[in-house]
Symmetry: C2
Subunit: 426 residues, 2 copies
């Protein structure tokens, strides 16, 4: 029965029960963490053999005999480019292989555009006044932090089940100060939504007023399917070809959640002219990225099949965790009308919407229990969730027994916060 249809008496009884459970949980002294999208230890072990691939000096040579222990190849090794081709379908000449962090590549891309512009002849963003980025919400907090760091104004764009509201995007890009949009197009963070073909096509067809508008296509979960039949995301570059708009897109990928989050390899995929420009600046920034780690990865993930086979092992470890969360939410909160959530088919998160005005309360109730969630509001620019309802659940890191405890507790907290809200409004 929906809580809103219950009588005050019924709600008060229910609240008392939940508060009793809460007190018990509190005395249990939990320390659990569901705050960040971090792979479990069992997932990290899947890539352990990668650390034994490079041993002898001969192991450290590239296919053309070049010694990868030494300087050179600032845009990456041919082997690593091929690996990212397997991953993305992009040709090697559109790929620049970087260091271990795609976030770093994104930060550098914004910084470069701020200081030097999107191309050789382009005005730096920082000299164009109060520039703006579009932020589909809820979204990834670290994208928003980059904008905040550089003083770029953020405009919320609502997410739909098909991706960002494209009517809103198309309207917003009529403003020439709008210079970019953050997208996680497959298994979006946190909603787990994969952009529909229609959405991708409309992105490719965008006609922004700013010639230096850029789509930041953070394809973080490109092969991170939970099921054999993964979501299908249209190749945005292929669509852009039809409109001559390939310069408008930067794609970012990494192996952080394929091999090791702390020691993976990241890449940026872009049009030939964007790649040439980025390489020209990058050549001033560094002599090379870590080519041994690139080679280690390329030897470990040596074909498209190897990558997909490896990702199936991750999926086997992650599916039960996602199932635990969704089953518990359904059992405890299904039909109550105080919570909605997605059941993603990939990615790293479950997005939970509770009653308006209750997310912060749930977060602090959980915090008091010793359970860390991503802070309420974090999925919105400036940490301001206008409806204070969204919570991001990251189920991947805790072992399943701990996860069960954490989600049970979460349901108790949601009930308490929402029943109190309903009672206050009655």
């Amino acid at each position: 029965m929906e809580y809103r249809n219950m009588t005050r008496g019924e709600l008060e009884t229910l609240l008392a029960e939940e508060k009793e459970k809460y007190a018990a949980l509190k005395s249990a002294g939990l320390t659990l963490d569901m705050s960040r999208g971090v792979p479990g230890r069992d997932q990290l072990d899947l890539s352990q053999e990668m650390l034994s691939i490079l041993v002898t000096p001969e192991d450290c040579a590239g296919e053309d005999g070049r010694d990868y222990r030494s300087y050179g190849l600032p845009d990456g090794t041919p082997e690593a480019k091929r690996m990212f081709s397997y991953l993305t379908g992009a040709p090697a000449e559109n790929i620049i292989v970087c260091g271990n962090s795609s976030l770093n590549v994104m930060f550098d891309t914004v910084a470069r555009n701020m200081l030097l512009g999107v191309s050789k002849d382009s005005e730096p963003w920082s000299r164009q006044g109060n520039i703006k980025f579009l932020c589909p919400v809820p979204g990834y907090d670290r994208h928003f932090s980059i904008c905040e760091t550089f003083g770029i104004e953020m405009i919320n764009i609502p997410m739909t089940t098909e991706g960002p509201d494209m009517d809103a995007v198309e309207a917003a890009v009529r403003d020439p100060l709008v210079k970019g949009i953050w997208c996680v197009p497959k298994y979006s963070n946190p909603d787990g939504i994969t952009y529909s073909d229609e959405t991708v096509k409309r992105f490719a067809a965008l006609k922004p007023a700013a010639p230096d508008f850029r789509i930041f296509w953070d394809n973080a979960y490109i092969v991170h399917d939970l099921y054999d039949e993964g979501d299908k995301l249209l190749d945005i570059f292929a669509e852009c070809e039809k409109y001559g708009s390939t310069d408008m897109v930067y794609m970012f990928v990494s192996t952080s959640k394929i091999t090791f989050p702390g020691a993976g390899v990241a890449a940026i995929i872009a049009s030939r002219s964007n790649v040439e420009y980025i390489k020209s600046v990058m050549a001033m920034q560094t002599i090379c990225h870590d080519k041994l780690n690139q080679l280690r990865h390329a030897k470990f993930l040596s074909s498209r099949d190897k990558i997909l086979e490896h990702m199936k092992k991750h999926a086997a470890l992650l599916r039960p965790k996602f199932k635990t969360v969704c089953d518990t939410l359904e059992r405890e909160l299904g039909g109550t009308g105080v919570a909605e959530w997605n059941t993603p088919r990939g990615g790293y998160f479950i997005s939970l919407n509770v009653c308006d005005g209750c997310a912060k309360k749930v977060y602090s109730l959980m915090e008091e229990l010793g359970i860390k969630l991503t802070p309420a509001g974090a999925t919105f620019p400036y940490r301001r969730d206008p409806r204070d309802r969204n919570l991001r659940i990251a189920p991947t890191y805790p072992p399943i027994e701990e996860l069960k405890k954490a989600v049970d507790a979460l349901c108790v907290c949601v009930k308490i916060a929402c029943i109190e809200k309903i009672l206050a409004e009655k």
Copy 2:
């Protein structure tokens, strides 16, 4: 006998002899490279065992049990900080350990100061008009490239045998638009000069007009001695303590020429307040740098003694190369009055000054022989050597037999260029 004191006839005879040698060299079809400061393969092999240090999941844990395969510790692992303490003498809290490239750290430091300022409350450099950097010359081309990329005006400061001309530095920093200076204080690139105690003290005592003036102390060759008794460089931070000027200095170091140039670890050393600020921005830039590579290095270079012992092995391989170059220069060009060079006690370069107006000519003569030198002019901002006389010799990469051939050829080219110059002026 000095060439300038020879008769026209004597010079013409000598020139004809050298041209004959040149023709013979040309027909030999050489392909040699003395252009960049790259370690030889034998040097890279010295660190090979580092690649077998991390194998099991347990190997990948930090001293507190943290799994370094995963996210976290954006400012570096405690083990790697300790390693850089052994290397620099700086306390761990003044150290931020980064990715594989100190050049990248320097680039990012300039970019951060351009966009966000040197501190939270500081005006970004990019909003202060036509800012300037001081460049001791000859110097490191990649420092100059960073300034050029960001449109920072460069002012030449002459090098003396004690380091940069401090009278000139002290005069220049009276201009509030002067925001920085590039220094390679030990075994400078390319002169191999170690700054005297007096020079370091005067740096520490600087009173620049700009409160956001910064010394970029690129300590690239901090332990890169060729002899057991290395040059001694005063600790600039200790000197700065006396003047309350520690915020004025960023020190950069890396293991590029200790372990692997393409897969080392770099760090920035700075005052507590600079470190806090840099960390606050870096936390927006990346979730972490490659901690496995940090751990590999920290386990391999596990004490000050281990580092010094390792560097002695490098020195043993490099000493004969430097000796070959200096002996040949002395034998062929000693007493001719057309060339001066240093005999460095460490670092990666020999700096050769030929007759004014002859460096480019020597470079192109060498190029025609198939021998790559660092381009003439590269050791000066904007690639403009006002006297066109400086050439940077990088003797570390070629095997010694090749190096001998290359330096023999170099002497022939220097003689041809300089004799022709003297004849033209007679």
